[in-house]
Amino acid sequence: MSEVIVVTSGKGGVGKTTTTANLGTGLAKLDKKVVLVDTDIGLRNLDVVLGLENRIVYNIVDVIEGNCRPAQAMIKDKKCDGLYLLPAAQTRDKSSVNPDQMRALVEELRKDFDYIILDCPAGIEQGFMNAIAGADRSLIVTTPEVSAVRDADRIIGLLEANNIRDNKLIVNRLNIDMMKHGNMMSADDVVEVLSIDLIGVVPYDEKIVVATNTGTPLAGDGTIVGNAYMNICRRIMGEEVPYENLDVKKGFFAKLGELFSAN
C-alpha cells in the first residue's frame, strides 16, 4: 500500500528540500519505489539538491495540464534505483495548480509507487494548501530556533484543521555543542513545546552544504547525518529504531568545569 507524505515547515530555509531529497534517497536504498514531487512552483529547488537539474523536460504543471503523461515528466535518479523526481515548473506560479488537481495527481502516482513524498513550499498560502491536499501524513521540519518552532506550531494547527492527523516532527540542524552549553534548545525541548511526536533528529553538519554543492544526498553513506536520515526512513516504514544519543544535557561536572574556567 502506498503512502503520501508531505514534508512541510511553515518557515523557509529550515531544510525541507534537503530532508525530502535525503528521505527519498534513504527509502529507495531500503528497496522502496519512491517519487519526490516538488510542489514549490516558481521556486524549484529539489532538482538541484538531487543533482538532476539538467534532465528536466516536462514538469508538474505539464502533467496537470495534460501536456504529457506523469511517466514522461518523471526523472529517474542517477545513483539510486527506485527513486524518481517530478519537478516543479519554474516559470509558473502557485495558482497554476489547485488542490483538486493535486489530489488527482497523487492518486495517479499511488498506482506505481510505495512512497510519494511532497516537498512543500514555505508559507501557509495556496502552495501549502496544494501540497497538503492529497497527503496521508506529514513530516514537519524545524530547527531549534524560536521562529522556526513557532511557525511549526502554526503548521501543525493547519494540518489538523485539514484532517491530517499523523504529523511527526524532524528537528533539523541541531548543534550538539551549542545545545550542551545551553545555547540551543534540545530536541526534547522542542517536542515539549510543540507536544507532537518526534520521528528524528538531524545534527548540524557542514557535510550537508558540501553534499548540496555537488547534488548528492547523504542518506545511507555512513556519515552521522546520513545515518540520522536512514533512521528516519526506517521509522517512516514503521520500524522501532532507538534514538541516537544526542540529547546529552550538561552534567554536573561540566558545569563545575565551566565555573572554574569562568573565574
Binding site: V146, R150, D153, G157, N183, M185, D189, S195, N263
Partner: protein, 91 residues
C-alpha cells in the same frame, strides 16, 4: 562571574523555551493584545459594580493550564490576579 550569579543565570535555551511557550499560547488562542485589553476592561467594569479594585496591581493574561494527568494535553487558560481594595456594601 560570581558563584551566585552562575546558579541564578538561566541558559539562553531556557529563555527561548519560555518565550516560545508564552507566544504559542497566545498564537493558539488567536487572541490579539487588543482583544486582551478589551477583556481586561470588561472584567474591571463588572467587578467594579461590587468591589473597589486596585487597577495598578491587576494582572490578566492568557496562560497554559497545567497538563492533564490523563491526557497530558494542555489548553489555554485565562489567568487573573485582581487585588481588591475594599468591598462595596450596597443593599
Amino acid at each position: 562571574m560570581g558563584l551566585i550569579d552562575f546558579f541564578k543565570k538561566k541558559s539562553t535555551s531556557d529563555i527561548a523555551k519560555d518565550r516560545l511557550k508564552l507566544v504559542l499560547v497566545s498564537d493558539r488562542a488567536s487572541c490579539s493584545p487588543e482583544i486582551m485589553e478589551r477583556i481586561k476592561n470588561d472584567i474591571i467594569a463588572v467587578l467594579q459594580r461590587y468591589v473597589e479594585i486596585d487597577q495598578q496591581g491587576l494582572d490578566i493574561k492568557i496562560t497554559k493550564t497545567e497538563s492533564d494527568a490523563d491526557t497530558g494535553s494542555t489548553g489555554p487558560a485565562l489567568y487573573a490576579n485582581i487585588p481588591i481594595k475594599s468591598m462595596r456594601h450596597s443593599d
